[in-house]
């Protein structure tokens, strides 16, 4: 069902051009055969020279006007957002902002939002809905900030409410994972009709270090954890967490911000073109189905009562009867 929106993973898109031609990778086989290891991908996704939200916003959109504050506590610098033009049409864009230097990272809290950051995001989501503007979110965070002030101000509630709002937001939503998609803190910006990820982005339930510390009782096993967690691009395609990957320049996104932004821009325009033609009610039920379908489990048949045991004489007779004997 999702194929109708994203364009088929295999066949042509709505406009008759191939998704692949639009620079999107929809199948792991389209990736270069020499792939970096998951741990290398984690390092690339965290590279400080990688384009961060504002780098992308400045290159993809025109006339970006940043909007500040959550209207109740303060302005969280780890989340940026505002109104901008994409290819001549206004959209709301919200993203997590990491720093490109240590000083900036301290201001941006290393891209780890506080609850007020998510509440600012929610305010902008509502603004998008109110004025029928499509929403673009840029995910790039190690996770929501885990400090005591964040707990006091309800980090969990802010994330939960943000997810809830996104699942029912009555405008097209496109999510782009730029670098790190760190757990619930990323998902609070990550519920969309289409979820795209840069080729070297990661998306995980917990950081590899955190996973290693808990399951292997040693953070130095992070490399092994990164492999086991299946957090890199091809795995995201396979599990459906990402609908498509955006191709990065040969050396990685950090080598060429302009080319990366150009690829993101053409992907965004193509996706929003398609999404804006889908009636909102359909969009919402498709978005529901998209997230509803995650999960792998084994279910016994509806009537799981075991077949009644056959009497001994029928068991004996059964085989000869089937062979046409007797």
């Amino acid at each position: 069902m999702l194929d109708r929106i994203v364009g088929s993973r295999r066949a042509t898109e709505g406009n008759g051009h191939l998704a692949v031609e639009a620079g999107l990778i929809t199948d792991a086989t389209q990736l270069a055969s020499a792939r970096p290891t998951p741990w290398q991908t984690v390092q690339t996704a965290r590279n400080i020279a990688r384009p961060h939200a504002l780098d992308i916003i400045g290159r993809v959109f025109e006339h970006f006007q940043e909007l500040h504050g959550d209207r109740s506590f303060r302005d969280d610098p780890a989340i940026v957002g505002g109104i901008a033009d994409l290819d001549g049409r206004p959209v709301i864009v919200v993203g997590q902002q990491k720093g490109s230097s240590t000083e900036e990272n301290i201001v941006r809290n290393f891209g780890m939002p506080y609850p007020e950051g998510y509440r600012k995001a929610m305010r902008l989501y509502r603004l998008a809905q109110k004025f029928h503007l499509p929403l673009v979110t840029l995910v790039d965070t190690p996770g929501a900030y885990p400090g005591p002030e964040a707990e006091e101000r309800g980090q969990a509630e802010a994330i939960a409410s943000s997810i809830q709002l996104m699942t029912r937001l009555a405008v097209p939503v496109v999510v782009v994972v730029l670098g790190e998609g760190g757990s619930g803190g990323a998902l609070a910006l990550g519920v969309g009709d289409v979820v795209l990820a840069l080729e070297n982005a990661t998306y995980s339930v917990i950081s590899p270090e955190g996973c290693a510390a808990i399951l292997w009782r040693s953070a130095s096993e992070a490399e092994r954890a990164a492999v086991a967690m299946k957090l890199a691009g091809p795995d995201l395609l396979e599990t459906g967490v990402a609908d498509a990957l955006i191709r990065e320049p040969a050396g990685g996104a950090h080598t060429d911000h302009d080319a990366t932004a150009a690829a993101i821009k053409s992907a965004l325009i193509a996706q929003l073109d398609r999404l804006s033609r889908v009636p909102i009610a359909d969009l919402l039920s498709l978005r529901y189905e998209r997230f509803r379908s995650f999960g792998m489990f084994v279910e016994p048949d509806g009537n799981a009562t075991p077949a009644p045991a056959q009497p001994w004489w029928r068991r004996i007779l059964k085989n000869p009867l089937e062979k046409g004997g007797l």
């Binding site: 309800g154 969990a156 955190g210 299946k230 599990t239 995650f294 489990f297």
Partner: protein
């Protein structure tokens, strides 16, 4: 003459199958009496963890609970191996807890009001939410939506199940999406937080109740206390991330002792039911 076994250990004064020591006040509690008191210390009111079956017995009217989706079991989406393969962990948890996974869902009545009831069990891999928990909770919410029945979820969970990776993370969005539909349709959802409710479960459906209740002294928070204290490099104050802390900061409606939990839930269910009926009459 009294015979002594030269190899045997000294008989304990309080054998552990009969007595439990309260970790809060140190009182020795007679197990049978503790069970009768729904695993609450008679002396200091400390709330021990409660299994899913005992919780259902506590909340649901006698014999009113019928389990649904009981047969769903976990598969191993990632082929995850840490010190043990994930399927082995599942099997061990099933043997230990007697449940198929970390949540029981079903239809029940609370104080005569029909509800869809879901109860998590911390005994099963720390109550962690993977595909099975996510699916059962989503189906419970969808059934509540279809039947216009209130939903009650009792949480006890360390968060998302790491062994299912990003799929486990997506269960947050999946369950919340189902809860969001209830919210739009004005079907009551009561969320009960018990010790502990942390991580991805608190950052999804558990925080979104129309009414959010917590048991006294329960650990409730987004990130583990260890992570938080490492982040700030100092020890955390006493009572941090406990129910009363959340009450003080405005994230739970009430802290309700276990013995009063059922009547309190029934009160809210009745209030919302009456309100709904009034509205229907006026339309």
């Amino acid at each position: 003459m009294r015979l002594r076994n030269p190899f045997g250990r000294k008989t304990k004064e309080f054998p552990s199958h009969l007595w439990t020591q309260c970790p809060s006040c140190g009182e020795m509690l007679f197990n049978k009496q503790l069970e009768r008191n729904h695993r609450v210390c008679q002396k200091c009111g400390h709330h021990f963890k409660l299994g899913a079956l005992e919780r259902i017995e506590l909340l649901a009217d006698p014999k009113s609970f019928t389990e649904t989706d009981a047969g769903i079991v976990s598969s191993d989406p990632l082929g995850f191996v840490d010190s043990k393969p994930y399927p082995e962990r599942i099997a061990a948890a099933q043997a230990k807890s007697g449940h198929k996974d970390a949540v029981l869902t079903g239809d029940a009545q609370i104080g005569g009001v029909p509800v869809v009831l879901a109860v998590m069990d911390f005994e099963f891999m720390g109550g962690s939410m993977g595909s099975v928990v996510g699916e059962k909770l989503t189906r419970a919410a969808e059934r509540a939506y279809a039947d216009r029945t209130p939903l009650v979820i009792v949480s006890a969970s360390g968060g998302a199940r790491m062994q299912e990776g990003t799929i486990a993370l997506m269960q947050l969005a999946k369950t919340v999406a189902a809860i969001a539909r209830l919210d739009e349709a004005a079907i009551p959802f009561i969320s009960v937080l018990t010790d502990p409710t942390t991580g991805g479960v608190l950052a999804s459906f558990a925080s979104l109740g129309d009414i959010v209740l917590a048991e006294p002294g329960a650990l409730i928070g987004f990130s583990g206390a260890r992570v938080t204290s490492e982040t700030i490099g100092e020890k955390l104050p006493k009572g941090f991330q406990r129910s009363e802390f959340l009450l003080e900061h405005g994230f739970v409606d009430q802290v309700v002792p276990r013995t009063q939990l059922k009547e309190r839930i029934a009160f809210f269910l009745n209030a919302f039911r009456v309100a709904g009926q009034d509205l229907r009459w006026s339309l």
